[in-house]
């Protein structure tokens, strides 16, 4: 379970990191990293201002 970040869309704002309930995301300079605690809840994908995130179930 994870999320896929479209790096060509992502504006590296970190909004997704702020809403992740389990702290699975991290903004590192200009990219988002996802760790294995991701539950695929989809909150990050919902709130992304540019729609750069997709959930993998």
């Amino acid at each position: 379970m994870s999320v896929i970040v479209n790096r060509y869309k992502c504006g590296y704002c970190g909004a997704c990191v702020g809403v992740c309930p389990v702290g699975a995301l991290e903004l590192v300079e200009t990219w988002i990293e996802v760790d294995n605690t991701c539950t695929s809840c989809g909150v990050c994908a919902k709130i992304c201002p540019v729609g750069a995130l997709g959930v993998v179930k």
Binding site: G14, V17, V19, L27, I47, V50
Partner: protein, 392 residues
């Protein structure tokens, strides 16, 4: 660079830099780290500040003031205009900053006061000893180092991890965040007022803004409530607005961001730990403004760090003073704004128009929002009944 400090501040935004400066000026050993390689860039902000609030911390300087404003204008969904004036509207009107320069100047002031600064340095965890936070694990150029400190300040923004690592749940629900896109638009007549367009039509659960930045440019952006995001996205709505209202505008920069609109969270200190600014969710739930709140909180945090150092006690017992002081000032305003936000996200565009019409014949141009609200309540008690405790 030392291996241990009195205070380490994670994040060199306005909140972090003011905390660092305050501590360093008192002679504390301070380290300010910033994960980006450039402080202040990319901007995630509409850049508006109130003059009065700003001048509590720094003297205005033309290097980082992009525009001085006459006041604010709010536009209801049907186009009805409400003008509010600069001298009265301390929160919204004032200056529009050039954050790329402003943030650097603040970090530089912290450095000149004696703080060490490290850029491209990211906190990746906290150190602990005897039930207290006692420093950070940091990564610089791929190398991990441990740096000790009596107090760690999490000023690490909307994406804050420091609080979570320290046991404070700062995660935001979709209803607690405004998700935003902003263009720096050129080739337009930006005027001398900050303009706010409200209603579902423009920005569901948020608003669209036009903040002049001089030289025929403006920050044009919008934020929508996270819970209303998904089928619509800020970037799509903003393009739509541009096509309709400023077809000749040229986009010369694009930024995105998330603004906490949760109102005060339960806890912002732990043993050896303080959260400041967006990391402490201290941005205003109604306006989204966070610069002055972060700086005010940073000042308080710095003062409390100085006190803790004097006493040699970095536990919650001493750090709680920070919590008490920001709640009594910033926190009160946040709670009021949260009430208004919670109502406004339920109000229809038709009702917003009604509210705007009810002000016709009243000169609000010399008033700020806190003065206009009671008038609105008096004329529209039915729509605004939920806010009665603010006025009665």
């Amino acid at each position: 660079m030392r291996s241990s400090y009195d205070v380490i501040i994670v994040g060199a935004g306005p909140g972090g830099s003011i905390t660092a400066k305050t501590c360093a000026q008192a002679g504390l050993q301070v380290l300010l780290i910033e994960k980006r390689q450039e402080i202040g860039d990319p901007v995630r902000c509409a850049e508006g500040v109130g003059k009065e609030g700003l001048m509590q911390h720094i003297q205005p300087d033309s290097r980082w003031i992009a525009a001085e404003l006459k006041g604010s204008m709010i536009f209801a969904p049907d186009g009805t205009e409400i003008k509010m004036s600069e001298e009265a509207s301390s929160q919204k009107a004032g200056f529009n900053l050039e954050r790329k320069v402003f943030d650097r100047v603040l970090a530089q002031q912290a450095a000149m006061a004696g703080a060490d600064v490290m850029v491209k340095t990211r906190a990746i965890g906290l150190l602990r000893s005897n039930g207290s936070i006692s420093g950070i694990k940091a990564m610089y150029m791929g190398e991990v180092t441990e740096i000790k400190a009596d107090i760690v300040i999490g000023a690490d923004g909307v994406e804050s991890k420091v609080g979570r690592w320290g046991g404070i749940d700062t995660s935001l629900k979709p209803v607690d965040i405004n998700t935003c896109t902003q263009f720096l638009v050129s080739n337009i007549d930006a005027g001398e007022y900050n303009k706010f367009y409200i209603g579902e039509k423009y920005a569901p659960g948020g608003y669209l803004w036009l903040f002049p930045k001089g030289e025929h440019t403006a920050n044009v952006g919008l934020g929508i409530l996270g819970s209303k995001c998904g089928t619509v996205r800020p970037i799509l709505l903003l393009h739509k607005f541009m096509e309709t209202y400023m077809p000749d505008g040229k986009i010369i920069e694009m930024v995105v961001g998330g603004v906490p609109v949760s109102g005060p969270i339960k806890q912002t200190v732990a043993n050896g730990l303080i959260l400041v600014g967006d990391a402490a969710r201290q941005s205003d739930p109604l306006t989204g403004g966070g610069i002055i709140n972060a700086m005010d909180a940073g000042k308080i945090a710095g003062e409390v760090c100085i006190k803790a150092k004097e006493k040699g006690d970095y536990s919650v017992k001493i750090l709680k003073e920070y919590e008490d002081r920001w709640r009594a000032t910033i926190g009160k305003e946040l709670s009021k704004s949260l009430m208004i936000k919670n109502l406004l996200i339920k109000v229809s565009d038709e009702q917003l128009n009604q509210l705007a019409h009810s002000l016709s014949g009243i000169d609000t141009s010399k008033m700020a929002l806190p003065k206009v609200l009671p008038i609105l309540f008096k004329k529209n008690p039915k729509i605004l009944w939920e806010l009665r405790s603010l006025f009665i």
